[in-house]
Symmetry: C2
Subunit: 379 residues, 2 copies
């Protein structure tokens, strides 16, 4: 088989999902998949477009590209030519296209550790070399511009804010400095903004997007999290003008186009009032779970956005994979080990996703408390 | 930008589609997209599943994997463990996964020339080296086992039957010999069977799939052509057992999963009576168009399957791209130049897709006749 597979590890959470789903009476806090339904308007849009079975233009439905540009105008006060928006097969498709566009085999992509595991695997598939900048409680889980100096020959930097798995939202000044430093040294800046919309009481929304700081930043976003439409497999990228024609050629070849029904559904997804309601529910879950877990774990990351809590388990003196296995088998609670996201903190951290209703979270906390009280006997 | 883009050319037909759609009164014979609607059962299945918005298992809905295995049992009399079927984002997704699985950067993939243009571009994106075996009227547009000896260090061979752009269906003995020769020399055999079902009066269906000859062959197929569901972006691959775990890891990372609604829709797509009706309509179009074009072009490929006619234009002593441009602008008929599919025959061939109703085909033929009668004056 191909040598590019040597470096690729399973996306463990997907394996855990499968194991956990095969068991009875498990509370699922492992996968970052919204449990709340999308706006009813989406269902109506789908029902009205069931005969749309043709390919779309490779870059996507023009009306949807315009809608996305409008959304960025309204929410972030940035003016984007809709021509710069491309519809992709999930944010996954946007990562593949962006990485394939920007980096040759052997070139280096700077990522944070911890980070979403697929970033590095997209790099490995394309024989790009991922390089990792450690982030931790010491720097509030935010890469600093000054950190860049310690890495040579970086072609692109990829961050996410809000971050998976830590829940961190970058401070505006830190984000600005990072972007400016990248531009000064000709490093592409890629901003994964898939958890945008799910930010709890932080800086003005307009300061959260990389596009506020530079038109050269590459923004990746989609409909799987805030918009609650993971099954559509629909993401988008906002690219600098200079990359557009090459992005189109890659789209034509790699995907032909994004799924058609998904694009029609997404036209109806921008239902602000409804979405604010979803955010409020995630926030109340976050408020509850963060507090309820804090006696049992060292929570050194804030969970200011997204729907994850990154929790240190070192007091239990056990490897995180084994910890998750025990919690699943003995307490019926599925969570994800740090090893999915990290090398340097992997064994000491686990990730909770609050993508279940509050009553389930409460039940999960009871089970966890019970298990951890008797941890020595069950482990 | 990345050096991997140096070798990638636009998928010209997608550009032609865009130009042609922006014009008025054009007959579209350029894109290989079914114009006939899918089975009404698909629409019903979609309407009944509009609330299915979660990710599926990375390898796809189990019921659909079983359905595909059953389909291969019924139509080809081959017994496939459903575990070997993976649902992908179009056949495009299946190519990316298969190539990434089988070949390291620098390894060689043998393709035919002409062939579907994206094959070589998937290779370029992954820094795999595509190598081309010329096929032509001299060998009935079918690669022969004896041709393999002229190529060194081939890791995988990819063919398609029925073939795009030539319409060729491989003879069973030629297909068998190719597969056996590949196995004898440890070359992976990849069979693109996306045009299966659309075969007109040839050998028994059971002899058309590579799986009839070997369980080690890799079959790629999907719902975009025969099943008339291109917008679903849903394909599948049938892989040898030994590749399954690695394929799953790649699926998890590259796509998470195929679009969910598309998978539910596809469950209802296996409507044999309806699909036989579609095939009959394509066949009557083929019968008409092949005969109607034959006074004007040298048709040296048979169009035994799929929905394409590969036509030699050398009598007009003009480059195929220019020919297509003139036909579009002066006669209002959009077709695709050979340069999308070929190096060695590129300038002398064009491709017609009979994916429009018979009355439009007749009108197109009139326009073509009119244009070619006065070709010197319009060119």
């Amino acid at each position: 088989m191909s040598s590019r597979l040597n470096h690729i590890e399973p996306f463990r959470v997907m394996d855990i999902v499968r194991t956990a789903r095969a068991m009875s009476d498990v509370i699922h806090l492992e996968i970052g998949e919204p449990d709340l339904p999308p706006s009813p308007a989406v269902r109506e849009a789908l029902a009205a477009n069931l005969d749309k079975m043709a390919y779309t233009n490779s870059l996507g439905l023009w009306e949807l590209r315009v809608k996305i540009a409008d959304y960025y105008q309204q929410h972030y006060h940035v003016s984007i030519n809709p021509e710069r928006v491309i519809l992709t097969v999930g944010t996954s498709g946007a990562f593949l296209i962006t990485y394939a566009l920007l980096m040759s085999a052997g070139e280096r992509l700077l990522l944070t550790d911890p980070a979403y595991p697929c970033y590095k695997n997209f790099a490995h598939i394309l024989d790009i070399e991922p390089v990792f900048a450690k982030i931790s409680a010491a720097n509030n889980y935010q890469l600093q511009a000054s950190d860049l100096a310690t890495f040579d020959h970086i072609r692109a930097l990829q961050i996410s804010s809000p971050s998976n798995p830590t829940g961190t939202v970058y401070q505006p000044d830190i984000l600005r400095d990072l972007i400016q430093t990248c531009q000064a040294q000709n490093t592409y800046f890629i901003s994964d903004e898939i958890y945008h919309g799910l930010v709890y009481g932080k800086a003005a929304e307009s300061l959260q997007t990389a596009l506020h700081y530079s038109d050269e930043a590459i923004v990746i976003n989609g409909f799987s999290k805030y918009f609650a439409l993971p099954g559509l497999r629909l993401g988008f990228a906002i690219l600098p003008e200079s990359l557009m024609r090459h992005a189109e050629i890659l789209m034509q070849n790699l995907y032909i186009s994004a799924p058609t029904l998904s694009q029609y559904a997404a036209l109806a997804a921008f239902d602000t009032d409804y979405l604010q309601g979803l955010r409020a529910r995630y926030q109340s879950r976050r408020d509850y779970l963060y507090q309820a877990l804090s006696p049992w774990f060292d929570l050194d990351a804030p969970s200011d956005g997204g729907f994850y809590i990154w929790a240190n388990i070192s007091r239990y003196q056990i490897d995180s994979e084994r910890f998750c296995q025990i919690l699943l088998e003995k307490a019926g609670v599925a969570i994800t080990p740090g090893t999915d996201f990290s090398q340097h903190q992997a064994r000491d951290y686990v990730r909770f996703a609050y993508t279940r209703p509050l009553d389930e979270l409460k039940q999960a906390v009871k089970r966890i408390e019970q298990g951890l009280k008797n941890f020595e006997s069950i482990s």
